[in-house]
Symmetry: C2
């Protein structure tokens, strides 16, 4: 018997499920209800259209209702909003926003792919003119037309998440002076503070004013300008304000229908992506997923997972309809792999960060270890090599918890390699063995990912010990003054920069000058990058020095952290 | 007791083992014998120095004997050639090439890291002037000085392997008209013919003359020009000739010392990288390794494996000396991951190719399957996206045999992801699930590697059937005329190009025009890329068509293959 599938939401999750389902089942009736005017559009491209990097608005519209009809025989109803679900009767009531008419649509299987919406906290003045969120094509149109008519000189972005930072870059490209206001002490929550410092440095270099540790108290519109009063008492003026404070799942429909939700409003689904109601599936930003690493429940609003869930969901619907063989398919969880371009840098992460490990009560250098290294994007002797900073977190057994990478080039590739390794249960020992493609324009004979593996291995078997990024500052603050900071870089490098209060012996002289150092004292070694410091540390440890540690990332990283 | 380690060969394998061993053992005496003038140099950068892409010769020299002494306390003896090994007495006799003196050096542990050398078959005239191999710094100096003094207009490269192609690009950059002469029907042996056609096309676009299926009969020097007589009767003139025909392991020492060699002259080592003699290790180009996929014995002369073997070798020596804990470490084999820049393209591969599977007697669409797809390097709507062609070979159980990728951008990252998946035992089902980093400048929500997984999955569960790249031509040649080639692209695309004798129904009209086609007949569908063809195939298969197949890579690939 011909089945009827109703899909609420026509973008990443909804449209992808519909397309795949049609490929599996030619006869099912498939209806997409989309409250907006557009389906299948590239949400992720919107910031770049504002910066005019993506010039053609039309290129963001990947499918039209007409093409979906012609190609997939899918009945796409834009401007049709689902108002409620009656799960017992298996009907959805729908508002046709063009005609204002309400009607009911029945289903055999329902999919909720309603996504999420930007948060708009109840801050005084938040609905004022010149204050926008960026989430949809109409949002984009509004912001673009504001820019072209009002030509704002100053823009402020509230929230330093990835959309906020993409907007910072694109509004800068559109000619605005940009201020980013962030409540935390760092932008880009998925990475750790010391890594975020590299972003902060680069954003400031690009004339972005960064206001950290501060929240918005109120917005006041004065003569076409918004005055943003901050908790700290500071005030920022901007003609254009972008809110990117956070998002909430569009789960009111699900809630009112009595489906199970988590405390953050996410729709609870089982491993087959079914809600608490057997005839209703849900995918995308609206659902709760399992964290692939910790197996905790979480929410990860990203397009990759939404698309993958959609395909599994379509497969499972087709299986229930008997048109596809095999057992129902499981969605195995999300590891949060993400990436963003932020001015001259690319920042990416996968898995769990150190903040999260700490939240779980895990202790540094006991429950988890950190490899933080600098490497070149490709062979240093081939032109165009740029530095990469890589941070990896791992367990005493070598299990990879997560990784973060920042650099100009080759970031995406290393995060993908590590993400694949995590997915397949690989350990840090496997990273050391990975056979990655090497020619000078692309990598080094030891790829940065191999290096992470080597360093992690050395940490676990006690060949090297690395202080935390703030280890030096903590020592300086502590009572214990019984330590030496040892700089093993060359004279010429030291002339350019050195860490205060450090003692200097270039690596090439160290073996003959070990006598100048106290074997019983804690010695923290550094060089520019970390490799010479490591060689120095090995030399000292093998010569009877008791407590040698290296400062991760070297003086280049220290500079980014503190200057 | 202080141990003495002698290392023959001071570049990738030798120098890396020495450095790691010193980090593990401060007291061992470590001597490197290097017959050339340089150690630790970047072989892989040599072609780019000739093309002046790498301007500074000095940047190719990664370490000097003096620095190795100062940093690592290693006794590096350049211009010292090992002449023979007496394994019973544990001594090596050495020629000091500067003084002409011979001496003996004893060892507790010996490492053979002598690498390989270019083949020079006994072709008449091969020692003539203007004919060079590129393998070492002195080779590079000679070729560079030849170019700057003789200013050759025409250069010929014998052999289309990766060094040959890098040289083609760099001699082109140096202003030469370049001819590449290759005995096989394709350049770049690790990839399959149809993929190599993409390289052929791009090389020809870059004014390289390609002579395939032809070998050199003789070289004749006439007035500063070499006339290259080919087997076919053709003759090519060039002032500069580069030989890159193949290489042989430098294993004479090992052979004369009575160590076990394989039939290609490779030194046989066990999984701990020990030769047949317990006190002698060997690493790098000179050894036989296990193919990671097939577990057959093979030889893979690449820098990545050499460096990794070196580190394992140093660990094992240190373990035997009792300075490092744990069991001896195994080298688990090489999967041949490699990459090269060839003019505008990057070509990369990992694992086994189709030619090899055929050689093993495996049958297409029975013992192995092929997914060959076109994808964009990143989201199509973000500027700068370029096409990628990806080919993957896999077993009926979903095991990945290997993959090949060609494109302008993002090739390295996808091959590394697949290489990591192969290494960790991932299947095509895992590729479909990999959670890779997505933002528009870097990828698509479904990364090309995910797409390979999807397509492979569809092939294995019968949702799609794909003809071989030469399937159309074979059909045309066969008796059976009972088939239709169906073009589902748009009118405007068809006006630009179509496969001869194809029937045209744009995808958007197909559902209503299925009646024009015969359900019993073999139908081979194509579009520009493959995605619409796939959607058409599903529609037809779900509507009772019995034999629908798609042509991989679409008309864009067809053009590269045949035009
Ligand atoms: C500016 C921006 C940039 C982004 N960049 C990236 C990126 O670089 N990488 C990345 O991985 N992710 C990115 N994302 C996130 C990504 O777009 C989402 O994770 C993904 O689109 C989620 O898919 P979904 O199907 O759950 O929701 P959506 O794609 O948002 O689709 C949900 C649809 O449901 C409709 N809807 C909601 N309620 C109803 C109703 N009651 N009736 C009818 N229709 C309804 C909505 O109108 C909406 O069109 C970005 C998002 C934005 C907004
Ligand atoms: C032009 C070129 C480009 C390359 N590009 C790449 C690339 O892009 N990617 C890649 O992965 N690989 C590349 N390779 C291959 C890579 O360089 C080798 O695989 C790697 O160097 C092998 O390391 P090895 O230690 O075994 O040998 P080598 O690095 O060659 O070192 C062997 C050394 O042993 C010395 N030696 C030999 N016999 C004796 C003796 N009897 N006494 C004393 N010394 C001796 C030799 O002089 C030589 O210096 C390239 C090679 C060349 C030549
Ligand atoms: C446009 C849209 C409806 C397309 O859905 P789709 O048809 O499933 O996806 P694609 O066009 O990417 O094609 C993928 C399919 O083609 C197949 N395919 C790709 N290349 C192929 C080839 N060369 N040969 C055979 N099949 C191929 C894949 O296997 C896959 O099919 P499957 O899912 O049945 O296995 C949907 O992706 C969408 O709405 N996207 C925009 C919204 C969005 O994702 N936004 C967030 C990111 S900006
Ligand atoms: C130059 C050469 C002697 C250096 O050897 P090396 O010291 O082992 O290698 P690197 O300088 O790359 O350093 C790697 C070491 O630093 C460690 N390391 C890297 N970054 C680190 C950091 N930030 N903190 C701590 N340790 C770090 C790695 O763990 C590794 O040590 P390990 O092997 O003991 O685990 C050797 O690589 C060589 O001769 N190379 C040139 C020849 C060649 O490879 N040619 C072919 C390719 S062109």
């Amino acid at each position: 018997m011909k089945k009827k599938v109703l899909i609420i939401g026509g973008v990443a999750g909804g449209a992808t499920t519909a397309a795949r389902l049609r490929r599996l089942d030619e006869t099912a009736e498939i209806i997409i209800l989309e409250r907006g005017e557009y389906i299948s559009y590239a949400n992720c491209g919107l910031p770049y259209h504002i910066g005019d990097v993506i010039k053609e608005r039309g290129s963001l519209l990947l499918q039209t209702p007409e093409a979906m009809k012609a190609r997939f025989n899918i009945d796409v109803r834009v401007n049709n909003e689902a108002l409620s679900i009656e799960k017992e009767r298996k009907v959805v009531s729908v508002l046709d926003k063009k005609t204002g008419k309400e009607y009911e649509e029945s289903y055999d299987t329902l999919l909720i792919a309603t996504g999420s919406s930007p948060l708009k906290p109840s801050i005084p003045g938040i609905d004022g003119p010149g204050i926008y969120s960026l989430w949809t094509i109409p949002d984009t149109d509004k912001i673009k037309s504001f820019i072209s008519t009002k030509k704002p000189k100053k823009a402020a972005i509230i929230g330093g998440g990835f959309i906020g930072l993409e907007m910072a870059e694109n509004l800068h490209a559109a000619g605005c002076e940009v201020t980013v206001i962030e409540m935390q002490n760092q932008v880009m929550a998925p990475i750790d503070f010391e890594m975020a410092q590299l972003l902060h440095e680069n954003m400031r270099m690009n004339q972005v004013q960064l206001v950290l540790n501060d929240g918005v108290k109120s917005f006041e519109g004065v003569d076409g300008t918004t005055i943003i009063q901050l908790q700290s008492g500071k005030a920022i003026e901007a003609e254009l304000v972008i809110l990117s404070i956070g998002i909430k799942p569009n789960s009111v429909l699900a809630k009112e229908a009595g489906l199970a939700l988590n405390e953050r409003g996410g729709v609870v689904v089982n491993e087959y992506l079914k809600t608490s109601e057997p005839s209703i599936y849900a995918v995308g930003d609206v659902i709760e997923v399992e964290d692939y690493i910790s197996k905790n429940k979480t929410m990860v609003p990203l397009a990759g997972p939404a698309n993958k869930q959609a395909r599994i969901c379509a497969n499972n619907i087709a299986r229930e309809f008997g048109v596809l063989g095999g057992d129902l398919e499981k969605y195995k969880g999300t590891q949060g792999t993400s990436i963003a371009k932020v001015f001259d840098l690319t920042v990416a992460s996968t898995g769990v960060n150190e903040k999260t490990l700490k939240k779980w009560g895990k202790e540094f250098n006991k429950d988890y270890f950190v490899a933080l290294i600098n490497q070149k994007s490709h062979a240093g002797y081939y032109p165009g090599a740029t530095p990469l900073t890589l941070k990896m977190l791992f367990s005493p057994e070598g299990k990879i918890f997560g990784a973060q990478i920042i650099g100009q080039d080759g970031v995406d590739k290393r995060i993908d390699t590590i993400a694949a390794a995590i997915r397949l249960g690989g350990t840090i020992y496997d990273l050391a063995e990975l056979e990655l493609a090497y020619a000078p324009p692309y990598s080094s004979a030891k790829d940065p990912v191999n290096m992470l593996g080597f360093v992690a291995e050395n940490i676990l078997n006690g060949l090297v010990s690395i202080v935390g990024w703030n280890g030096l500052e903590e020592l300086k603050k502590s009572e214990d003054k019984n330590y030496t900071i040892l700089d093993v870089s060359e004279d010429i490098e030291r002339m350019a920069f050195f860490i205060p209060d450090s003692y200097h012996i270039p690596l090439g002289q160290l073996r003959n000058r070990l006598g100048e150092l106290d074997k019983e004292k804690l010695i923290i070694v550094y060089c520019a990058i970390g490799v010479r410091a490591y060689n120095a540390a090995r030399m000292m440890m093998n010569s009877g020095f008791k407590k040698v540690k290296i400062f991760p990332g070297g003086s280049s990283f220290y500079k980014s952290l503190y200057h």
